[in-house]
């Protein structure tokens, strides 16, 4: 998983490029934690436009990050999910904790 990020207007934008499954989950979680912890922003936007594949292991990764950042008062939002990522998000109710923004 290739992860790019930038801070802009007090918002941390993070782009995930690659496949999020059991194999990439551990490394992705660690990198996201490092990036998330380094920001002073209270809002994080995850851009998933370049995410090629995701299964329910990815949901576990996202919920784990949500729990960590919630305790610091940081909100996470989802942007540009693929048709399929959206299908999994709706099935698991992820949007209730990480709302989709356009």
């Amino acid at each position: 998983m290739d992860i790019k990020y930038r801070n802009y207007n007090n918002v941390l934008y993070v782009m995930l490029d690659g496949e999020l499954d059991e194999h990439s989950a551990k490394e992705t979680s660690k990198t996201l934690d490092d990036v998330f912890m380094s920001t002073l922003s209270k809002q994080i936007i995850l851009d998933l436009s370049e995410m090629k594949f995701m299964d329910s292991t990815g949901i576990g990764v996202l919920i784990g990050r949500y729990k960590k950042m919630k305790s610091k008062g940081v909100s996470i939002f989802i942007s540009n999910p693929s048709y399929h990522a959206e299908k999994i998000f709706k099935l698991t109710g992820l949007y209730e904790i990480m709302p989709k923004i356009s």
Binding site: E22, F53, D55, S56, T57, G60, G64, H84, T92
Partner: protein
């Protein structure tokens, strides 16, 4: 068209991408849509993840995938030779996980069930788990196009 294939590989997470790509590649014979193909890849990934995470707690065994194409329906069987699942009903409950400390969603079987047309999970008589799924390809894309 009836066609089949079988795949055997080690229950390692690095084989997940290979497994879902191989099954998806074989299913191309039925001309599925991109969405149908991604449904199949996701379901296969969920089943293989279960084998990798749960089947062999103290060793590394094998995963065997069989795919059969009957007319326009894809039948996928994914099995391991590991510890199996004691309470299958509980395992199918959304958000249930036996590893709550590992950030697992507990949605694997739920995803398989909703992305495929059918899902059957059984403990094998000897050892391991057998997951059977099927999906009928709805709109086989026609190769015939009207011009103009």
């Amino acid at each position: 068209m009836n066609n089949s294939m079988e795949l055997k590989f080690s229950a390692l997470s690095e084989n997940e991408g290979f497994a879902r790509a191989a099954v998806a590649g074989f299913c191309l014979h039925l001309n599925p849509s991109i969405d149908e193909l991604t449904d199949i890849k996701t379901a296969v990934s969920e089943a293989v993840t279960n084998c990798v995470v749960h089947a062999y707690p103290n060793s590394c065994g094998n995963i065997v995938i069989k795919v059969e194409l009957f007319d326009d329906t894809i039948h996928i069987e994914i099995r391991d030779y590991g510890v199996g699942i004691k309470d299958l009903k509980k395992a199918r409950t959304p958000f249930f996980t036996t590893k709550p400390l590992e950030e697992r969603s507990g949605m694997g079987f739920t995803v398989m069930e909703s992305f495929m047309d059918s899902l059957d999970i059984q403990n094998a008589k000897d050892c391991g788990l057998i997951v059977k799924m099927s999906k009928t390809i709805k709109q086989a894309e026609s190769n015939i196009r009207q011009l103009g």
